[in-house]
Amino acid sequence: MERDNNDTNDILDDVTGGEYKYGFTSDIDTDKIAHGLNEDVVRLISAKKGEPEWLLEFRLKAYRYWLTLTPPNWAHLNIPDIDFQAISYYAAPKSKEGPKSLDEVDPELLKTFDRLGIPLEEQKQLSGMAVDAVMDSVSVKTTHREKLAELGIVFCSFSEAVKEHPELVKRYLGKVVSYKDNFYAALNSAVFSDGSFVYIPKGVRCPMELSTYFRINASGTGQFERTLIVADDDAYVSYLEGCTAPMRDENQLHAAIVEIIVENRAEVKYSTVQNWWAGDAEGRGGVYNFVTKRGLCRGERSKLSWTQVETGSAITWKYPSCVLAGEGAQGEFYSVAVTRHHQQADTGTKMIHLAPNTTSTIVSKGISAGYSENSYRGLVKVAPDASGCRNYTQCDSLLLGSHCGAHTFPYVDVMNDTAVVEHEATTSKISEDQLFYCNQRGIPTEEAVGLIVNGYAKEVMNKLPMEFAVEAQRLLAITLEGSVG
């Protein structure tokens, strides 16, 4: 009955040894400030970006608050002490001004994004997608801007938004994620570098997917981007985010903030394929991904949907959340989190039901292999005045091999007697019967595991936009193909 355990683990090792093809580094002339963090560094970052006084004040307030905090330790994670003074808080590919056209962009940089499969030349692009590419701390190039501008849509780097649409940035910055929210949110608010800014005006459906690719390149740096998306009344946008980083022996810190505001009857879909360098098979190196993502569904019948496929990072700590403040607002969270080798992930969501008749759906699929630890942590909260709310949560864990851990920590807080909140969770493994059935039909074990895992994750994958879904499926197969349970 028992398959030889060593065998199983051998196959597992083979498979989970799947290669990380984004691990190259690029030789790009980088403007990087010295390691360490103090008020002068915060001022320097602000000055380098030519920011207005109010933004510098915002940063300094956040920095001073950050000094009073200690890193959170409640997650099911083993986070080594991070020396925040050993990190450089600003690195930017050198150029005098932001590139006005493609000709001004460093060819090495273009090559980098080409290798990542993200051509920045607009004619080469999928016509249905506009891209903002962020290397280290700075937005490199945003495509299709003019076309979007015709509709009144703003899609640009955060720094440009500060210059060109200061009133919008000022109105919304920090309104969903306060700098006081948590340790990493405070840090980000003090030193954030760049990111994307999206504004969809009233009644406009964004005709193409907006997409940002984040890339950490320089060593010894952290990446602290900030994304702000505003969908005004009756607007719609689908936003995609992809992340990669070179293979380095050191751990790199990524502490981002994403804020989303959804007004009356507007809808935002936010999809992430997170594939930061996860460290090697022995757990050396990799990105620490400590991210605060939150959306405020402020308008009535507004809708926010998070979809994430998490395969990268040495440690992931993130809980994309929905604050459902408008009557009838909807929040959704669909997640596939894969961990292997020595990766650790503590991820999930918060659904805060503040208004009546708000609904939320959570589907989380965890897949653990190797020596990894994979946790779902989620909060569903129904406020006293929020009557008629509904939540459905489903958390499934799949374990591949006997050295990994899969954990579920849901918090359910119901303060209204008309709420219906349901939570179901299961833990399973790929059955030998399924593997043998596939084998008998000629499908080798490695491929069978990829097939079965993709089937297991299908509910979430189906929520991704088409272009991303294909990439995400391939990623899952590469990451896990051949693992045997």
Partner: protein, 445 residues
């Protein structure tokens, strides 16, 4: 914060009196407990695992303790009527922490079985008690360490190898005090290899107008192939607080069923920590909470599988009315040493009024891939459609609501495996939901 200090100070000034009123076996653990409390605090609300209940607050009032072991006035005879009808149980009464056997108990305890005062047992059978006392309870819990520091007496139940106790053992615990008081009680239940027994504890208070707190640590040691049933029914008053910590160690092929039923109370925190140490065990954990007024009921369970081929089932249900608050935190943990585990947990709650609150946190911690585990939690209301259907058949709305609540709780009642106890509980639940005080009809407590 800082409620712990007054008790440590009390201990430091009264250690000789405390020791004198107890037994050596219990006294030897006090310094160990004191050391474990160094630099500690009782958990406050919001600490992971104590989201909604502050133990610190519970212990904060300036309670007295009966260290000198004065016999407090108590109408014990009234409590003796709290028998299980139609079953001759082995009945004992515990007033605060003082064990009072009944004549029938003394007459009917079978050979190889001890049901007695813990302190007496510790004096008469020191080796036997020392082997088990403190072996399951964890001093990592500040509450347990404090209990170990202060406990002078309690209950000792021991069943020898292969002895099956046919009659249920019933213990009525009474809080009786004219002044606000902390009772520190200890219960130790040991089933040796192949033994079997069933215990029913009924927790009452005879001092309805006096605030009182009970700290109770229960240790259950289930030997190989033993079978233990424990049903704990709390029926006290809104003036009463209770911090009850139950620790279970299950050896190979043992079978343990524990039910914690809170029918009436003030503030209660129950913890169940089950360590499945041997292979092939079966564990059932059932919990019920019926809340009205300002009752606060917090159950926390942790079933840890450390050996292969065991199964565990947890079922907790709450019905919360008025301004009552419920909290449930439960976890299933499967270690790498426990393949072929089957573990299930279910938490179902009904909020019956606008002011009621429920917090749940069911957790899975799985470190083994050859397991079947699941948990589910729901919080909702009584089924409107069913209510309407019943009304349309002429059943008044209130009665229909009550029937639906009883039906909802029936699943937990059914987890009690001893028939007489199950019937008793069903009766109590029906009365409680019908709005009566959930006391046995002829019990004055």
């Amino acid at each position: 914060m800082g409620a712990l200090k007054q008790y440590i100070d009390l201990y430091m000034s009264q250690r000789e009196a405390i020791d004198a009123g107890s037994a050596d076996v219990m006294n030897t653990l006090r310094p160990v407990a004191l050391k474990a409390l160094e630099g500690r605090e009782l958990p406050d609300r919001g600490v992971e695992g104590f989201e909604k209940t502050s133990i610190d607050e519970m212990f904060a009032p300036d309670y007295g303790m009966n260290i000198g072991r004065l016999a407090l006035p108590c109408d014990v005879a009234a409590a003796f009527k709290c028998g299980v009808p139609n079953v001759s149980s082995l009945l004992a009464v515990v007033v605060n922490d003082r064990f009072v056997p009944t004549a029938t108990l003394l007459k009917n305890v079978p050979a190889g079985v001890r049901v007695m005062s813990l302190a007496d047992a510790a004096r008469q059978y020191p080796d036997e008690v020392a082997r088990h006392y403190g072996s399951a309870a964890s001093l990592e819990s500040a509450g347990t360490a404090l209990n170990t520091l202060l406990a002078q007496d309690g209950i000792y139940i021991h069943v020898d190898r292969n002895i099956k106790v046919e009659r249920p053992i019933q213990i009525v615990t009474l809080t009786s005090t004219p002044v606000p008081m902390l009772t520190t009680r200890r219960i130790l239940i040991v089933a040796e290899e192949g033994a079997s027994l069933s215990v029913l504890t009924c927790d009452h208070s005879m001092s309805r107008d006096t605030a009182a707190l009970t700290s109770q640590v229960v240790e259950i040691i289930a030997g190989e192939r033993s079978r233990i049933d424990l049903c704990d029914i709390e029926e006290t008053h809104d003036t009463q607080s209770r911090y009850n910590q139950t620790y279970v160690i299950q050896h190979a092929e043992s079978n343990v069923a524990i039910g914690g039923m809170t029918l009436q109370n003030g503030t209660t925190r129950n913890e169940y920590r089950v360590n499945i140490a041997g292979r092939g065990c079966e564990c059932h954990l059932g919990g019920m909470a019926i809340g009205s007024g300002h009752q606060h009921i917090d159950n926390s369970s942790d079933v840890k599988h450390c050996a292969p081929h065991s199964t565990s089932h947890q079922l907790f249900k709450y019905v919360l009315d008025d301004e009552s608050h419920g909290a449930f935190e439960g976890s299933i943990e499967v270690t790498p040493e426990a393949p072929f585990t089957e573990a299930y947990q279910s938490d179902r709650n009904i909020l019956a009024s606008r002011g009621a609150r429920m917090h749940t946190k069911p957790q899975l911690l799985i470190y083994n891939d050859d397991v079947k585990c699941s948990h589910g939690a729901t919080t909702g209301q009584l089924d409107d459609k069913a209510l309407f259907y019943m009304q349309s058949r002429g059943i008044p709305r209130d009665e229909a609501r009550m029937m639906l609540m009883q039906a909802f709780m029936a699943e937990v009642v059914d987890t009690v495996r001893v028939e007489a106890v199950r019937d008793r509980l069903r009766h109590l639940v029906e009365r409680r939901l019908a709005g009566y005080e959930a006391h046995c009809s002829d019990c004055k407590a």
